[in-house]
C-alpha cells in the first residue's frame, strides 16, 4: 500500500544550530525523513530532541537565532508536481503558497494560538481571506461550514463568541478549523492534545482521524505520548539529541523495537505487570553545545559497546520499512537481548492483539 503513494515531503540531511547566550547549540544533527501522500507519520522524542524544530524548518518559522547548516526539505504541493526545496524558497513565496495554505499547523496550547481579543468568527474569516480573494460574506459562510465540520454546534451563534467562552477541547477544534480553512494537503500537529484531558484527547484524535479520511490529508504528529502514536500513526520516527534513531511502521517499533532508547521509552510506561521498580533510563539528555563523542545516547545506554563512545552508528536496516541507528545491529556486535520485562510485555501485547483481532 505504502509503496504506491508518491513521496510528498522528503527531508534530507537537515542540520540546524541555534545561537544562545553566546554558545552554539547543534540541535538538529542530520535528520532524514520521508512522508508519502495520505500517510500519517509521528515523530516522538523528549523535549529538546528537535522534533518541533524539524517541522518549524519546513514551515519556515524558525526563530532568528537558528542557522541552517545543511540539508534540504523537498515538498510536492500538488500530486505529480515538481518538488520544491522549502529551505531555498523565498519567505514571501513560503507565506503565499505553503504556510497556512498547503501546509497547516496545529499547536499544543489552543489558548495561545487564538487571539483573545477577536471573535472566533473574525479569526476564521481573516484566515480564509489571507489566502483567497473572497468576499467577507462568502468567507463567513465557509467559516460556519468549517465549524460544523469540526463538531461545533450552533456555529452561527458561536462565530460571535470569544476564545475564553470555549472549553479547551472546543478551542482546539476551532484551531483545527482555522488550519483547515485553506484546504491544506499536509497538517502538522505539534502536541495537539498534550494540554487536554484524556477524554477530550480521545475526541480530538477521533476528529483529526475522521477529517483526514474525508479530506485525504497527510498528517505529521509531533508528540511524546506513545499511546497517541499507537492510536493514530502509520509510521514512527523516534528522535534523540537531534537525530532520528529508529524509524518504522508502528508495528515494527512497538512489537519489535531495536534501539535501546526505544526500549527505555516503551519500558517506562507502567502497566499492570510493572513490579516494584519501573524501568527508567538513567541520566539526562545531553546538552548539545558540545558535539557528543560517538553515539549521543551512549552515556545513558546500559547496552553501549566500546565503539558507541567513539563513532556514531549509521542507520542499520532491519527490514524494508524498519531502520535503527545502533551498533547492536552491526553483524560484528555481540548478541544482546532486549530486557526481559519488555520482551514479556511485547509478547503479552501480541497475544492480546491476536485475541482482539479474533
Amino acid at each position: 500500500m505504502a509503496d504506491k503513494a508518491e513521496i510528498m515531503l522528503e527531508i534530507k540531511g537537515l542540520d540546524i544550530s541555534f545561537r544562545s547566550a553566546g554558545e552554539m547549540f547543534h540541535s538538529i544533527r542530520g535528520v532524514n525523513l520521508v512522508l508519502r501522500r495520505g500517510e500519517t507519520l509521528a515523530i516522538v522524542g523528549e523535549s529538546g530532541s528537535g522534533k518541533s524544530v524539524t517541522m518549524k524548518a519546513a514551515m519556515g518559522i524558525l526563530p532568528d537565532n537558528a542557522r541552517i547548516n545543511a540539508g534540504s526539505i523537498l515538498y510536492r504541493p500538488e500530486p505529480g508536481s515538481e518538488p520544491v526545496d522549502l529551505l531555498k524558497a523565498s519567505p514571501k513565496w513560503l507565506r503565499d503558497n505553503i504556510r497556512g495554505k498547503s501546509i497547516a499547523m496545529v499547536f499544543q496550547d489552543p489558548m495561545t494560538s487564538l487571539n483573545p481579543t477577536m471573535t472566533i468568527g473574525n479569526q476564521l474569516i481573516a484566515a480564509i481571506r489571507a489566502h483567497e480573494k473572497v468576499s467577507r460574506k462568502e468567507a463567513a459562510d465557509r467559516a460556519v461550514t468549517l465549524l460544523e465540520e469540526v463538531g461545533i454546534t450552533e456555529p452561527e451563534r458561536r462565530m460571535r463568541q470569544y476564545p475564553h467562552e470555549f472549553s479547551g477541547g472546543m478551542r482546539q477544534r476551532i484551531v483545527i478549523a482555522i488550519a483547515l480553512s485553506c484546504n491544506p494537503s499536509l497538517l502538522i500537529c505539534d502536541e495537539p492534545t498534550t494540554a487536554l484531558d484524556v477524554t477530550i484527547q480521545d475526541r480530538i484524535l477521533e476528529l483529526i482521524v475522521s477529517l483526514q479520511q474525508k479530506r485525504s490529508l497527510s498528517v505529521i504528529y509531533i508528540t511524546h505520548n506513545l499511546g497517541v502514536v499507537a492510536r493514530v500513526a502509520d509510521y514512527v520516527n523516534v528522535m534523540y539529541a537531534g537525530k532520528i534513531i529508529e524509524t518504522g511502521t508502528i508495528f515494527d517499533v512497538f512489537y519489535d523495537p531495536r534501539h535501546p532508547y526505544t526500549w527505555g521509552l516503551l519500558s517506562a510506561i507502567p502497566d499492570d505487570a510493572s513490579g516494584e521498580e519501573l524501568y527508567s533510563i538513567p541520566g539526562t539528555p545531553p546538552v548539545l553545545s558540545k558535539e557528543p563523542a560517538g553515539d549521543a545516547f551512549a552515556p545513558r545506554n546500559p547496552y553501549a559497546l566500546e565503539i558507541d563512545f567513539k563513532e556514531e552508528p549509521p542507520m542499520f536496516r532491519v527490514s524494508e520499512t524498519h531502520y535503527a541507528a545502533t551498533w547492536l545491529l552491526d553483524e560484528r556486535a555481540p548478541k544482546v537481548e532486549r530486557p526481559k520485562a519488555l520482551n514479556d510485555r511485547i509478547e503479552k501485547m501480541k497475544k492480546e492483539a491476536a485475541e482482539y483481532v479474533r
Binding site: T199, R231, S280, T284, E352
Partner: protein, 304 residues
C-alpha cells in the same frame, strides 16, 4: 475502610466554594475519603474537577467551607498548616526561588521550625537529604537554573522530605517531566515510601501512573468523588459510567488494540444527578465503592 492500619488522614464531607457572596460556585461537594498510614491514595480527574483544591484544603492553603479534615484524629482548624503535611509541586521551575541556593531552599523549613542546633548540623542534614534524593552534597551551593527539570523535582522532593512529614501531597508532580525522567522520579517516590512509610496523596491526570503508584484510587468529576477502590478493582471493573468512559479514553501503547468509549459520556445528558447519589459497595469487595442512587445501582448491575 481499611481498619487494619491506623487512619492518618480523614476527610469528611469536605465542601469548598469560590466566588463572591450570592454568586458562589461550589467546586467540592461533600467529598469524604481517608488515607491510612503508609498508604498512597491516588486522586484522578480532569482539569477543573477539583483535585488540586482538595490537596490545598488538606495543606491548609484554603479554608474549607464545610466538612472536617482530621489528621491523626485531631481536627485541623480551617487553614491550619502542619509540619507533618508537606507538598511537592507540579512545576519544579516555578516552585523554586531562582535567587536562592538549592541548599537554602531545602533547608528553609529547618530554619523556620528551628530544627537544628548548629550550622554544622544544618548543612549535614541538607547534604544527607540531597544524597538521599540522588543529588550530590556539592550541589547545595548551586542555583536552581543550574539543574535539569528532573533534578529540580528531586530538590522539590528533598525540601518536602527534610521536614520528616507523615503525609506528602504530590500535585501533578511528574506532569512537567519527560518520559524517561518521569520513571526516575516515580521510582524515587516509591523508594521513599518503602524506606520511610510516608503516606502520599498522589494527584494526577495520568491514569497509568496513578494505577502504578497508588494503593487506592478515587475518581473525581465536577467536585464529586464518584468511585473509589483498589487499582485492580477500578481498572478491571469500573462501575460508574464516568469512570468507564475515562478508562476507555486512555490510548493504549499497543497499536492493534485501541478501545474507544462506546458512547461519549456527557453529564448533562446522562440523566445522572451526582447530588442524589449515596455510597454503595460493589458486590465483591469492601474497598470498591461507587456514588449512585438505588435505581442506578440496579441499572448498572453492580450487585450481581
Amino acid at each position: 475502610m481499611s481498619d487494619k492500619k491506623e487512619k492518618l488522614l480523614q476527610v469528611e464531607n469536605l465542601t469548598m466554594r469560590f466566588g463572591a457572596k450570592g454568586r458562589q460556585n461550589t467546586v467540592i461537594h461533600n467529598v469524604s475519603f481517608d488515607i491510612a498510614e503508609g498508604e498512597t491514595f491516588g486522586l484522578v480527574g480532569e482539569s477543573g474537577s477539583g483535585k488540586s483544591t482538595i490537596g490545598r484544603c488538606i495543606l491548609g492553603l484554603y479554608e474549607p467551607c464545610g466538612g472536617t479534615i482530621r489528621f491523626r484524629g485531631d481536627t485541623l482548624k480551617p487553614g491550619e498548616m502542619r509540619r507533618e503535611i508537606q507538598m511537592i509541586f507540579q512545576d519544579p521551575m516555578a516552585s523554586l526561588n531562582p535567587r536562592k541556593k538549592v541548599g537554602d531552599i531545602v533547608g528553609a523549613g529547618l530554619d523556620i521550625h528551628k530544627m537544628y542546633k548548629s550550622r554544622e548540623e544544618r548543612s549535614e542534614r541538607i547534604g544527607a537529604m540531597l544524597e538521599r534524593v540522588g543529588l550530590s552534597r556539592v550541589q547545595a551551593d548551586r542555583y536552581p537554573a543550574q539543574f535539569s527539570g528532573g533534578q529540580r523535582q528531586r530538590v522539590g522532593i528533598a525540601r518536602a522530605l527534610i521536614m520528616e512529614p507523615q503525609l506528602i501531597v504530590a500535585d501533578e508532580c511528574i506532569a512537567a517531566l519527560d518520559a524517561s525522567i518521569q520513571a526516575q522520579i516515580v521510582n524515587l517516590i516509591r523508594q521513599i515510601q518503602r524506606e520511610t512509610g510516608t503516606s502520599f496523596l498522589f494527584i494526577s491526570h495520568d491514569l497509568s501512573m496513578v494505577r502504578y503508584l497508588s494503593d487506592r484510587i478515587g475518581v473525581l468529576h465536577r467536585g464529586f468523588l464518584l468511585e473509589q477502590g483498589e487499582p485492580g478493582e477500578i481498572f478491571a471493573n469500573p462501575v460508574h459510567p464516568y469512570t468507564r468512559n475515562l478508562l476507555a479514553s486512555i490510548p493504549s501503547p499497543n497499536p492493534i488494540i485501541q478501545f474507544h468509549p462506546e458512547t461519549h459520556y456527557d453529564y448533562e445528558t446522562s440523566g445522572i444527578v451526582y447530588e442524589n447519589g449515596t455510597w454503595h459497595k460493589t458486590g465483591d469487595s469492601d474497598t470498591h465503592q461507587v456514588l449512585c442512587t438505588n435505581e442506578e445501582y440496579e441499572k448498572w448491575g453492580i450487585g450481581k
